[in-house]
Symmetry: C2
Subunit: 281 residues, 2 copies
């Protein structure tokens, strides 16, 4: 683990850290925000932020305006990259933004040429938490959130590991990737054509299976002016599934907001308050 960069913000510290990933077989970088309380030695809870297509660890750090609230509430924020990186890591042969680099979709790829490096599910669920616990003292309470592709990742990872994550939230998530162009392209490449293997990475399918006795708190924020709302994100598929499995989702679709970090910055405080409320109860 190398600290490449460290900058003071809202009394806390934002670090960019690189490490050799055993799971992804490449060098990875993540950002971590340590609130003033953590720097002073208090063990704090952790919130993961999973970013969307094309992002690195930097977009959220620079644009979401999250550190004011995270500093106030004493939340550690862990911000991973969105795919494996570096020489030898395959990319979309057509160079599109929605497959390959910056588009790992938080799955464990089973198909060549992706399967060696594209193991983002295990990276988020296993390798990063181990690194975190070894190097950054925390109180063991963890929530997960994300945006778009990262909102998909947060929902899938949170629901499949509901004993570990206290709460889940998402901005503009891809709610039913099996049934949208982004998801179908990614899953057919990474997982192959057998759609049974896609289900474990589909928030709507997972919600249909969810035991109604395990009510993990979920909050979803959408912008009604989001150009991807109907074709790619499909939040109503997930809400229908939640209705059927008798699971409550806090859902708001805001008039006029789009898919951008300006939308995220407007409601990030509310999401961090949501997680803080559950993490400290």
């Amino acid at each position: 683990m190398n600290i490449e960069n460290s900058v003071k913000v809202f009394g806390g510290e934002l670090r960019q850290v690189t490490h050799d990933s055993d799971v992804l077989h490449c060098t990875m970088r993540f950002s971590i925000f340590l609130p003033p309380a953590a720097l002073a030695g208090t063990t704090c809870p952790v919130v993961y932020w999973l970013s969307g297509l094309t992002c690195t660890d930097e977009n959220f750090a620079q644009k979401a305006g999250a550190f004011r609230t995270a500093a106030e509430l004493g939340l550690i924020l862990l911000i991973p990259d969105t795919s494996p990186r570096g020489e030898g890591v395959p990319d979309d042969p057509e160079g599109n933004y929605d497959l390959g680099l910056g588009a790992g979709f938080y799955v464990n790829a089973t198909q060549a040429p992706w399967d060696k490096h594209y193991q983002m599910y295990d990276y988020i669920v296993q390798e990063l938490p181990q690194l975190l616990n070894e190097h950054y003292p925390n109180n063991g309470k963890v929530s997960i959130m994300g945006h778009s592709m990262g909102g998909h990742g947060a929902l899938v990872i949170g629901m499949r590991n509901a004993q570990r994550y206290t709460s889940i939230s998402a901005f503009s998530p891809i709610c039913h990737p099996m049934d949208c162009p982004w998801g179908q392209k990614a899953f057919s490449n990474y997982l192959g054509d057998n759609q049974d293997s896609w289900q474990q990475y589909d928030a709507t399918w997972l919600m249909q299976q969810l035991d109604n006795k395990r009510q993990i708190p979920i909050r979803i924020e959408m912008g009604q002016a989001d150009p991807f709302f109907q074709e790619q994100l499909k939040p109503y598929a997930l809400l229908n599934a939640a209705d059927e499995s008798e699971h409550n989702i806090e859902f708001v679709a805001h008039e006029g907001y789009d898919h951008s970090y300006y939308f995220i910055s407007t409601f990030i405080e509310a999401h961090l308050q949501f997680h803080h409320c559950h993490l400290t109860n």
Copy 2:
């Protein structure tokens, strides 16, 4: 005037606008934030933000986290570009970041090849206010702020037009450009070798001339870990001059903070509150 982009943020609207500049002889772009109150028809005060070296209108909009507070306080934010742009606009022949494109230094150039386009002082002081008043209803009260090169611009423009600007603030400003490498390079290119012509663009020199009966409120924020503090920014030269001219400056140098937008984001709320306080008194 063309609205190229419009996005909802914190209940307000951020627009990117292009227009043909008579003063700069090129097409220019600026960003403007309209708080919810302005959208609802209230005439609001205006705060200009002048950006630093290499920036366009986008850096502040994306990274400063200013819109939450501006929305709450009902402040219009006007965010110009930092130089003329486009084909035929000369750039530093060596391609460095500190001269030419992105480095207009808020002066009216008198030397070839700069003098045709590099008239950023007049652009900020004359052309933009006219455009603003024609197209965006406001209550006529105006303050000015900026960062680094833009902090220099805010101080110089504010002090030379103290009857027009209600208050001035700056993050990490270049306080004495006649006496630092960035300023000397820019001024000798744009204004020539006669240093008498530099004085009107030097905040420290202007402060020495300032009438102590005209106390324009000034706030300056610095980071003690700013790598440019001693060689380029020289805030103590300005503070000394203010002391001699019996002018009060609110000055804070914060332990551990650097020159970045993370620093700005931490204290932007305090600066907007500062301006709001003076604009509404």
